[in-house]
């Protein structure tokens, strides 16, 4: 089922085995990796990449401890991780802009942060959520004290809003598209519309500092392969979606297709090349966290990411 590593051309060196750990169950954020593997872009770079589903373990610790070579992570995660001394480095932004936002069924009529007043937000109880809500509502001159925050734990969006919850934080590319498929109208309040500082990179490809130090060649090879994979996904969203579905047949086909369509133009978006990251973005988010007293230490933005492995 497409999992077989591609044999390199005869005469060449044998492929180097590396692994990449996903951040969640496979979804369209990961399409580029599956394409690069299936289409042999990794093999061209001399790599045999194993894509590992993370389960409960999560990617970050595995990558940081070099049990896995690469991983899919987020800017928020890496920022907090680095403050705690976890040596993660972001290699490429998978999606150029933050596509997450606060979603609510259209019937609730929540179109701006001002409408959050008097409504119930369902989250997972992190202080970051409250800070984000606060930032957004401040822009709209709304009072966060009028919003009730309820911890919904692992409950998914659709279930939450059936019950006591009015709005929740989602990725449009997946949950939002699912809503479209179901014919449920959603109102979205995107973070990027209200705060530039909250336009962070989510998700990103990451590795550990040690890996970069020890084996920059492999890092480069991996990033190049991935880049080519995402490039393909941008140009041929349908084919790319098929590759993902073939690799992970238990995913819902329609959802993958439609999500891929929605996401394809968002991978690179306004950047001059796929994966490009700006220092400003990393600094912005860290300073936003600092302002909200969410950062428990000093964060050096320059060390948190690098652009030097993505192809020109």
């Amino acid at each position: 089922s497409g999992e077989e590593p591609k044999q390199s051309d005869e005469g060449k060196e044998p492929l180097k085995k590396v692994s990449v750990v996903l951040d969640w169950t496979p979804n369209t954020n990961h399409t580029g990796l599956y394409v690069a593997k299936e289409k042999g872009y990794f093999a061209e770079q001399g790599l045999d990449v194993e894509i590992v589903k993370p389960g409960e373990a999560g990617a970050d610790q595995l990558v940081a401890s070099q049990k896995a070579d690469f991983g899919v992570s987020y800017q928020e995660g890496i920022t907090q991780a680095r403050v705690q001394g976890v040596p993660l480095v972001s290699l490429a932004a998978v999606i150029q802009h933050n596509t997450s936002g606060f979603a609510s069924p259209a019937s609730k009529n929540i179109k701006t942060p001002k409408d959050f007043e008097g409504k119930v937000y369902g989250g997972w109880g992190s202080p970051v959520e409250k800070a984000v809500l606060l930032s957004l509502m401040k822009v709209d001159k709304a009072d966060i004290n009028k919003t009730e925050i309820v911890n919904t734990g692992d409950t998914d969006f659709f279930t939450s809003v059936k019950r006591d919850i009015d709005f929740a934080w989602i990725y449009y590319a997946w949950t939002g598209v699912e809503a479209e498929l179901r014919g449920e109208k959603l109102n979205m309040v995107y973070l990027t519309d209200y705060s530039k500082k909250l336009d962070y990179y989510t998700p990103v490809l990451a590795t550990s500092e040690k890996m970069i130090e020890k084996d920059p060649e492999t890092v480069k090879a991996f990033t190049h392969g991935a880049s080519k994979g995402y490039q393909f996904a941008i140009e041929h969203p349908d084919d790319a979606a098929d590759i993902l579905i073939k690799a992970e047949p238990d995913l819902d086909k329609e959802l993958v297709k439609k999500s891929q369509q929605w996401l394809a133009p968002k991978y690179q978006d306004d950047a001059k090349r796929w994966g490009e990251q700006k220092l400003e973005v990393w600094e912005n988010y860290a300073s936003w966290m600092d302002e909200n007293e969410l950062l428990e230490g000093k964060f050096e933005a320059e060390k948190a990411f690098t652009n030097k492995f993505i192809p020109e």
Binding site: K53, P54, G55, L62
Partner: protein, 260 residues
């Protein structure tokens, strides 16, 4: 009387069937959306549709379950025996047994993977951790509570610790041990599914997470039904083995049973 016998044997099946029918009707009447709670009929048709693909997952989970259960309950039993034979270390180790049940998997998982990789070993450890405990506790209690009259006889006759164990304590602890094995067997399938969340390529757990994250509630329920079926099956295998091993228990003892 014929009907009674059939009812006794198949009562559970009828009951389950009844629950399914009520469920089907309830879903239809209340117009519950399929993504929240699919009707049994939807679940079965999905099960049929995805059968060829799903079957591999099931096999892999069964394999994990059996291996984990066997290893876990053997370890549990051996531990009980060791703690029983060496009562001096029992009090020392007992708390460790309890602590072992309170390491949350989400914490253990990264450590296990970092130490042992993505192979089968960390998964077996997780299932084993789930399965060994009920067996160990039940076996310990069973071994401890032997009839003192019989124990005295064997001691007077000079039975060694080894003989005392094989001839008296073990047979006496069998019902207790099976009690523990039944609990373990029930947990083992869920244990395997959870262990698959440590990162596996195939398995019912993998299937379920994928289904759940792509909002395919019908498939999630296919997975659940499979898990349930497997653990029922497994449980009854233990019950049958128990009947074989404790035959004496039902023989001749219950003069009065007919009156109940």
């Amino acid at each position: 009387m014929k009907f009674r016998v059939i009812w006794k044997k198949a009562g559970a099946v009828f009951l389950l069937f009844g629950i399914l029918v009520i469920w089907e009707l309830a879903v239809n009447w209340t117009d519950t959306p399929a993504w929240l709670l699919p009707a049994p009929s939807d679940i079965f048709s999905e099960a049929q549709a995805s059968y060829p693909d799903f079957f591999g997952h099931v096999l892999s989970t069964i394999y994990l379950t059996l291996l984990g259960f066997l290893i876990g309950s053997s370890v549990g039993f051996l531990l009980a025996v060791i703690l029983h034979i060496l009562p001096k270390i029992r009090d020392t180790f007992y708390p460790i047994l309890i602590l072992s049940q309170n390491v949350p998997i989400i914490v253990l998982a990264p450590l296990l993977i970092i130490w042992l990789g993505f192979g089968i070993l960390p998964k077996i450890i997780v299932i084993g951790l789930v399965c060994f405990f009920p067996v160990a506790i039940a076996a310990l209690d069973g071994l401890k509570n032997t009839s003192s009259e019989l124990k005295h006889y064997l001691n007077m006759m000079g039975a060694t610790k080894y003989q005392l164990f094989w001839k008296l304590e073990l047979p006496h602890a069998l019902p207790s041990l099976f009690s523990g094995l039944k609990i373990s067997a029930t947990y083992s399938v869920m244990g395997a599914v959870i262990s698959e969340w440590l990162g596996a390529k195939t398995g019912v757990g993998v299937y379920m997470t994928l289904a759940s994250s792509s909002f395919r509630t019908d498939r999630v329920f296919v997975a659940i039904f499979t898990i349930m079926l497997l653990s029922l099956l497994f449980f009854f295998v233990i019950v049958i083995v128990e009947r074989i091993f404790t035959k004496w228990h039902t023989k001749g003892v219950d003069k009065s049973e007919s009156k109940h």
